[in-house]
Symmetry: D3
């Protein structure tokens, strides 16, 4: 159940169709995830700007490996409690070659970080002066 | 201001001293972060088990590069809103060689993930059947 | 699946029945949402105090338009990751006249705010002195 | 203390200077908030794309009043626990005319939404069929 | 730095003064925390209703021990990342007799829960049928 | 739908089987929750270390009553928005004797804490000097 209809491929308006075509060409698959179909139902402009940003941040060559980018994306999605995003980006990480050993380490890091995040917040630990970027 | 004193090196109980010695030996630095000093004040046992876990998950050879592990740690800490952890793990990532270009990409991914996390939650997008691990 | 039964209209205790009657009269509908039915199963007193607060904060005349109040409610519910609340308050916003264009803008703002929230937290930006309320 | 230096106006690179000039012209003030100064230090490209998005989403004419947009922004920032963002967008809402009565109502709604968000999550209330957008 | 002034005891309006008097009498201390002083500056009505709720939920005799209530309050405040609340309710728990051993266990539970929360969310574990309250 | 298969009892590897046997013996039930079955599918080592920690923190004699520990666990799970954990630990609290009156109070405290957490964050209330642990 979603707050907007999840659009099928019938009768798409041109701006949405153009984005869907670009997703298919970029990802070399015919499948369009429900996220894009729901976003298209909500607002074609938001669909286009979000896809453009995803394509650029996650797809263009850069300083981080594409798999590493997906691991970071999964980590944020878990911490934000976004069920859909956890599923879609775990699948994306696997599609980019995440091994089961890497997945196990990702889980261990996310779990440990959550634990120490809560401990540091509980203790209200003052930030060490050595971490000051201005002083570097 | 913290909820417990941040212990100095004076008059540490033996279990705490042993952990601090191990942190210094493992990290090849004389400095002990406030997190460990506050945790030591709260509970020596929790200090020891937490350090053991950090040392194992973040330090032992594995399937993920040590820098990648720190990037994931920073990402979780940001999403959990832990100020201390953001500072300490951003510093740790830099100590492990994070370039400014890598940091810029980390920020862009974390920001984008937060945006799409909120959009997917707002739209309550149903999870695609294709993401079902049981069906793989 | 819920942690308590979702009460039907049979055999309600008097305090619960009085609240349900007031919800029906106030909202001019015969339907009682599952939230109130579950809360009623958990505790009649908590049901009554929560409904009283909702009725007063969301329903009484005030400085903010009823639709604006619902938009704010949706925004908080998304950020808190409450699936039920996102559904119920998106529906409430529509019932109060939210247009699809307004919904699209709400989504864009919530997504952007999440992005800059995470960026500001990642960078640990110091608060500008100009924002000091004491100095106004 | 931030993870990057907060740039002063000295010796800015051209891309950053152009964004700062546009912020000043758009907002009709000489002051540039620390958020933009820190983001500039992290990455000029991320600064530019973020400012472009903020300017478009928050500044262009649309279906929601500029003040209403800021109220939504504050609400998300509170729920995400972003201290900097709460300060800067509360100030922005006041600059756009938020009265003290409106602020009091905003606080009451945010507090109430947080309470019912937690209650609905605690009870794991099943979503009512009436909220199904597909069925509208 | 706060978004509203933190009121001193001078020239309080009668509704605020009455609440402050009741806080002093109820808690048997002359000190009024900054939370109440800031809330008073924002809205006298919100101050009064919030204090009434705190007094009733945290102070009246009930099924849970007053110390246990404060431990739960601290736990929620940590998970929500509310720095002020962590400080004030950790102090309140100590004032109600929390021993250092109890505090150490609270920290261990909060840290462990955060870890397993993130693991369960990362794995998207389906809820066991045995947890269904309707079937009890 | 989960990101890994939920393992049945067939053909478990020895390390997993040993943990499952210990869970059954410790909890005196034949049932193994889906959380452990999914974690086992992800990583036997993470399963073992997580179970060891749960058994120690939640099961060994200590300064807090076992039921109180579960109430704290539920509170953290609600605030972190972990649906699975809310279900499993609410059931665990009931198994340890949580009465309906205690559950109602837990809900009231969690809801109230969420409300004041958001109010304190919205107001950015400065921490009172009296809460300083160093000064105790």
């Amino acid at each position: 159940m979603s707050t907007v209809p999840v659009l099928s491929d019938d009768a798409l308006q041109p701006q949405v169709k153009a984005v869907f075509d670009d997703i298919r060409a970029t990802r070399r698959t015919d499948r369009i995830n429900n996220f894009w179909r729901a976003l298209a139902a909500a607002d074609a402009q938001l669909l286009q700007s979000t896809w453009t940003e995803v394509k650029q941040v996650m797809g263009e060559p850069g300083a981080l490996d594409p798999l590493v980018r997906e691991l970071i994306y999964v980590a944020v999605s878990v911490a934000n409690g976004c069920s859909y995003c956890v599923h879609s980006h775990t699948a994306a990480a696997r599609a980019r070659g995440m091994s089961e050993a890497q997945y196990a380490e990702l889980l261990a890091i996310v779990g440990l970080a959550a634990k120490t995040n809560h401990l540091a917040t509980a203790l209200q630990v003052p930030v060490d002066a050595a971490f000051d970027a201005q002083a570097r």
